[in-house]
């Protein structure tokens, strides 16, 4: 585990992709095959089941250190991570030992079903044999939460380099279904499991945000423009008579969308479509808030099917007649997709995402301004001759989003951040006016410069009205413009409204609290997004 601990340290410290890949390659060169499999599993989010509850760990640390509960909490607040807090608080280890990573994972796995006393013995013994950094890793293995800033692509590139294997083959392989307890490293690299598994999707091709004028991209006729939809990016896979629906999060969501099951009969074997799962009726896209009613549900009621119908807007064709089609140019893929879907009825929930036809960038820019009226968040630009890349690649695909919604609010609560920012009030709650009162509308942090954070900090310190634990109620004076991507009705929020991705756009020092927006303003905005597209013209 020492080697793995060192790897994690290197990955955390370097902010350059090449350094990270170098560290990974070095690690894969010198480590046990069994450990490699687990590292791939952990980095791609395959969590071992949590064998011990966090509350128990916390309790045992307090017993060992004799620290009062409040001090544990303050320490946690400063560190910002439970596994790390525990690792730092424990007394120094008395007898160090070095077991490989997979052995620790297997030992933890064996704890399942044991009673708390047995678990405690094992964990305490482990803590007493590990150095601080290893303890941190060990605690992370228990919590299963391994987000360390290594993207799948980075990992795949390192594996490809280390094993001299084609990177797309490895990406297929690790995205497929496999069990780290069963598979060997060689099998995983060769992709033995995906050759027999029909469900595997392709890595999604992603776009960068357009950061220049579109004119710089060249002639408009070299580009295909589409609406940028705000739904769930997905892939539909039909192989050997079976249908699989994958979400961008690499999750199988086939069961959630019965509207799409008809594709099992309709699509020929060896077909993979890329597209967007959206709430839609008669090929008109509904707001994201409607789609939300359908997400993460095991069972879907008839009412939900009626009130929140979904559709699949096809962007691309990745596999055709059993052939990987990704190295064909976009124009060719689009043509084949059109052929394939030509048999669909006009009211089918599945359709090709329409191409926006335009003859100049100026015309497209004007159309883009109307994005909201079709519940789109802007325009996608795809080079007509582009291949379907794995992941993000600059130059071929761009997203050209419209500006977010904004609302002027006043800060009413402030809370201290964690880590190095534990000394500063960095997390804020904002309100709009509701008659005589102020009503909470969003929480947001970041978006301010450090200089502004300092100023806000001083204000909060001087203008605290009440104190609830780490939260301060502050005099409602500072006005902030909040940007957000969407708005939805919400029973969980007192205002009855929830904003999507709220963030601080700027501090409006030029405005005072009498000038902020009202709840009515937001209710009207919500109403206007719920009206069917096209209603406006009536």
């Amino acid at each position: 585990m020492k080697r793995f601990a060192k790897l994690i340290q290197q990955l955390e410290l370097s902010n350059k992709t090449n350094d990270k890949i170098e560290a990974l390659v070095h690690y894969f060169n010198f480590t046990d095959d069994k450990d490699k499999v687990w590292v791939i599993a952990l980095f791609t989010g395959k969590k071992p089941r949590r064998p011990v509850k966090a509350a128990l760990l916390r309790q045992w640390v307090k017993e060992l250190t004799q620290l009062p509960d409040w001090l544990f909490t303050e320490s946690y607040h400063n560190v910002g991570d439970l596994s790390e807090t525990i690792a730092l608080l424990l007394p120094p280890a008395e007898q160090l030992s070095d077991h490989p990573l997979h052995q620790w994972i297997e030992s933890l796995h064996e704890l399942e079903g044991k009673d708390d006393e047995q678990k405690k013995q094992f964990i305490l013994h482990a803590w007493n044999s590990l150095e601080p950094q290893e303890r941190f890793i060990f605690n992370k293995l228990i919590s299963g939460n391994f987000r360390i800033g290594v993207s799948n692509k980075m990992l795949v590139n390192a594996l490809a380099k280390q094993s001299n294997t084609d990177s797309s083959q490895i990406m297929h392989s690790i995205m497929g279904k496999w069990d780290p307890y069963q598979i060997t490293f060689q099998e995983l690299i060769q992709g033995v499991h995906v050759n027999t598994d029909n469900s595997w999707p392709y890595p999604f091709c992603l776009a960068y945000a357009l950061d220049t004028e579109p004119e710089k991209l060249g002639a408009p006729d070299e580009w295909q423009a589409e609406w940028k939809w705000d739904g769930i990016r997905g892939q539909i896979v039909k192989r050997a008579g079976e249908l699989f629906i994958w979400s961008r999060g690499e999750e199988l969501v086939t069961e959630q969308f019965p509207e799409l099951w008809f594709l099992q009969d309709m699509l020929p074997d060896g077909t993979v479509l890329d597209g967007e799962i959206l709430a839609a009726k008669n090929r008109q896209v509904l707001p994201f808030s409607v789609l939300q009613q359908r997400l993460n549900r095991k069972k879907i009621s008839k009412k939900q099917l009626e009130e929140a119908p979904i559709g699949f807007f096809v962007y691309d064709l990745l596999e055709y007649q059993g052939q990987d089609y990704r190295s064909q140019p976009l124009s060719e893929r689009r043509k084949k997709a059109e052929e394939l879907l030509s048999a669909l009825d006009d009211d089918s929930p599945v359709n090709l995402s329409p191409i926006i036809s335009c003859s100049s960038w100026g015309e497209l820019a004007a159309l883009r301004e109307t994005s909201r009226s079709v519940n789109s968040e802007g325009v996608m630009l795809k080079k007509r001759d582009s291949l379907y890349h794995s992941g993000r690649k600059r130059g071929d695909w761009w997203k050209w989003k419209i500006n977010p919604y904004t609302v002027d609010t006043v800060m009413i609560y402030a809370q201290k951040g964690s880590g190095r920012r534990a000394n500063f009030f960095t997390d804020y709650t904002f309100a709009v006016r509701d008659g005589e009162n102020l009503i909470t509308i969003a929480k947001a942090y970041s978006g301010l410069t450090d200089q502004e954070i300092r100023e806000v900090n001083t204000f909060v310190t001087k203008n605290s009205l009440e104190k609830f634990g780490p939260v301060r109620t502050v005099r409602p004076e500072l006005v902030f413009e909040i940007a957000f991507e969407g708005i939805a009705a919400s029973k969980r929020h007192k205002a009855g409204i929830a904003l999507r991705f709220p963030r601080i756009l700027r501090w409006r020092k030029d405005k005072n609290v009498s000038e902020i927006n009202t709840l009515t303003d937001l209710q009207q905005l919500l109403q206007s997004t719920l009206e069917q597209p096209g209603d406006e013209t009536n």
Binding site: L13, D81, L88
Partner: protein, 345 residues
């Protein structure tokens, strides 16, 4: 009337009519050590340790009225005996012991309990009231032995060298820089920024022996720096000069580097938890050793630390001061220059 009170200008001894580390100008200032938040410009008279004298002359102005004395020696003002005891924080750092009619107070300034190889080691002093810092007064701050940390630094440097990179350590010019120089000196030449070289010269003139270092000048070649160790203050951290070195990799040495979130926030290439302040066990051990009945907790985790002391049989009080955080090597990235000292107050 207590011998020492806490006033708007600083820690005050009425009987002797002098201040300890005042933050506003006073007539007579007793200084614990040379860090900018403890010694400020504008006092009429300074009393400090023999080695702090040249430091403040170098850092503030040569035109100061400075009186110095060694550890263990005594100056008496209006019946109050003032003496210095090693604080182990940086070269010349002193705890100030005050005695009047049998009542003894000790003001710690900044201190650490581990010997760093260059500052006179910390010495606990028995007293009735102890004024302690609390920069790292949280139990997650427990330092590893400095040998362990220096081995990490050395292997990092060796690794950088193998990868053909230039190792740059970011360190406070006064204290941390000399500690690094002393403990890293050996096979590789050490190149230092002007501000560090100037301080080193002042210290050497005062009789401190430091390993040889090379002052970085406009003529220093990049290739040359690659084969050595570069030490610069945090102000240089985002400088064009640093970015233009040949494959620069930066390492920060500070107690805050103990915690991952802090390390990541700094966007340096490496962080080493090397501190010139006492860790949690160090603070507790030092306080116990004074035998003091009253503890006054200044700059740092004041609320947390005093609450813990009170729950564990001490009579502790939180004191608001304007001392800063000399371990916050790296300031927040701001367009203008503002120090963290203003932030933590």
């Amino acid at each position: 009337m207590a011998l020492v009170t806490f006033t708007k200008k600083g820690i005050y001894c009425r009987q002797g009519d002098f201040y300890i580390d005042p933050w506003l100008p006073v007539d007579y200032a007793v200084i614990t050590h040379g860090h900018g938040d403890h010694v400020r410009f504008g006092n009429k008279h300074y009393l400090c340790h023999t080695l702090t004298g040249p430091i403040i002359r170098q850092r503030i102005s040569t035109d100061l009225q400075v009186e110095t004395q060694d550890y263990g020696k005594t100056v008496t003002r209006n019946g109050v005996k003032i003496s210095f005891f090693p604080a182990g924080h940086i070269i010349g750092s002193a705890q100030v012991r005050l005695e009047y009619q049998g009542e003894i107070w000790v003001i710690s300034g900044d201190y650490k309990t581990e010997y760093d190889g260059i500052s006179t080691p910390f010495e606990p002093v028995r007293c009735h009231a102890f004024v302690s810092e609390s920069t790292f007064g949280l139990p997650v701050y427990k330092w590893q032995k400095q040998d362990v940390i220096f081995n990490q630094v050395k292997s990092w440097i060796a690794d950088n060298r193998q990868r053909d990179k230039t190792s740059v350590l970011i360190a406070y010019s006064l204290g941390k820089a000399q500690r690094l120089i002393k403990n890293l000196a050996g096979d590789m030449p050490i190149y230092v920024h002007n501000s560090i070289a100037n301080l080193n010269e002042a210290l050497e003139q005062a009789g401190v022996h430091l390993p040889e270092t090379i002052r970085i000048t406009a003529d220093t070649r990049k290739e040359e720096l690659k084969s050595g160790i570069v030490i610069v203050p945090s102000a240089m951290r985002n400088s064009r000069w640093l970015k233009n070195l040949s494959g620069p990799v930066t390492g920060i040495c500070s107690g805050w580097m103990q915690v991952r979130a802090h390390r990541r926030w700094q966007s340096a290439d490496a962080g080493f938890a090397l501190s010139d302040h006492a860790d949690w066990p160090g603070l507790l051990e030092a306080i116990k050793a004074t035998g003091a009945e009253k503890i006054y907790v200044t700059h740092g985790f004041t609320a947390t630390f005093s609450r813990f002391l009170n729950e564990n049989g001490f009579d502790a009080k939180e004191v608001i001061t304007r001392y800063g955080d000399d371990e916050a090597e790296i300031k927040l990235d701001t367009p203008e220059k503002t120090t963290n000292q203003e932030l933590t107050n």
